[in-house]
Amino acid sequence: MNWELFFDKWLPKMLDGAGVTLELLAIAVVAGLILAIPLGIARSSSKPWVRALPYSYIFFFRGTPLLLQLFLVYYGLSQFEAVRQSWAWNYLRDPYWCALITMTMHTAAYIAEILRGAIQAVPTGEVEAARALGMSRSKALLYIILPRAARIALPAYSNEVILMLKASAVVYTVTLFDIMGQTRTIIARTYQAELYFFIAGLFYLAITLVLTQIFRFIEHKLRVDMLQGR
């Protein structure tokens, strides 16, 4: 084991990789949340035709592996000349965008389901009270249901962030240098698979533990535990 080489060359590469992983994760879970809000609301609608579209979306993205979705976006779409000629190609030609788009759409499906559960968990009495006070449907949704649902959904959302962190490990397959991408490239030169997989594991574990603590702190601040109702 050449420790000098490790600290000068390979460790900085691993840290770069951790940066890429965290950046992808942060953007995807925020963008995914934004995309999930309309999906989750439509999914909780009482009208079947409003439910149908988000339902199919969620069914597709939760029913297939992320790796497959990534390959569909990255390799699949470039099969079509029309896609390669369109403005979208400016983004789709870049693996970073492909990974970001796929991760966002994937996590949005899961977050939408979390939101639906949370919206349905808001006590009916509160919604009725808001309506009785003369709030319109949309006002009740904006001021009563969503803020309430947000706090109910927080533990499940933090769980989803951790799951996405781990799921993001497949993006190296489309040439990105995230933690896994750096790890595999280093192993390709050092042939020390056991050691570098172990180090990669430590990186992920550390990120998981830190994220868990951050969310626990936020949940504590928002007194989420008082709101679960179960």
Binding site: D94, T173, T175, T185, R189
Partner: protein
């Protein structure tokens, strides 16, 4: 309520059959299966190509029974050392880095590295004019390492798990060029997908010797393989295989 009993039984069975002890009488050839024309998987699932035919000719000369096993390229040396197979015949360049992990036989062909790019592109292989271009190569190949060692600050390097994925991205326009083995590039340029592309500049790296990798210290096998390579070159078997794939000699 007997489900869990069945499950326990099934689990025990899985453990029992899951680990495989490799019988010693058969030689296992490890290859990648994604590197045409040297090794590839056809529609029937069979592994075919130049490497495979050379490997089988060598086995025939040594009088051994051989079986072909595929592995992904990144993990092919670890897999050899894990005894998942006994030799790698997968167009592997003999390099000092690899020699620390495995032993090599005498070379069975000689490779060069050369850029390919769209015919329409103004593509010069001088370092200065490569600036800012996106170049693809396969991870853990000498092409990938050559790029990292020589052009890391000049071009954006993208590394792929398979050579085929690099070609897919070249034809979709994600890459400005690909650096790869000359003969593999040559094969791809001949194909339908490669018709709008061509070699650019002279080979950037020549005299790249391709050998068969075996585990360290297995000198018996290495000596037998070296003798067999000499034999198939001498008796014309090698030339027959060569001519089937290339109209020029690659030895």
């Amino acid at each position: 309520m007997r489900h869990y009993k069945k499950i326990l039984l099934a689990a025990a069975a899985t453990l029992a059959f899951g680990t495989q002890a490799i019988a010693a009488d058969k030689i296992k050839l490890g290859t990648e299966g994604a590197y045409p024309p040297f090794n590839l998987i056809d529609a029937s699932g069979a592994v075919v190509g130049f490497d495979i035919e050379v490997g089988q000719a060598l086995c025939a000369k040594m009088g051994s029974e051989c079986e072909v096993v595929t592995s992904d390229w990144d993990g092919i040396i670890p897999a050899l050392n894990a005894k998942k197979f006994d030799m790698i015949i997968a167009s592997m360049s003999i390099t000092d880095e690899r020699k620390q992990a495995v032993d090599f036989t005498d070379p069975y062909y000689t490779n060069k590295l050369q850029f390919i790019a769209p015919k329409s592109a103004d593509f010069d292989t001088e370092t200065e004019s490569l600036k800012g271009k996106i170049i693809g190569a396969q991870r853990a190949t000498i092409a990938g390492q050559w790029l990292e060692d020589n052009l890391a600050d000049t071009v954006t390097i993208k590394l792929y798990d398979t050579q085929e994925n690099a070609y897919l991205d070249l034809s979709s326009g994600r890459l400005d060029g690909v650096l790869g083995d000359k003969f593999v590039n040559w094969e791809w340029l001949k194909s339908e997908a490669g018709k709008d592309f061509e070699f650019k500049g002279d080979p950037v790296f020549e005299n790249d010797k391709i050998g068969i990798a075996i585990r360290k210290g297995e000198d018996d096998l290495r000596n037998k393989l070296n003798q067999a390579i000499k034999d198939i070159v001498a008796d014309g078997t090698y030339k027959k295989i060569n001519d089937k794939y290339f109209p020029f000699s690659i030895y």
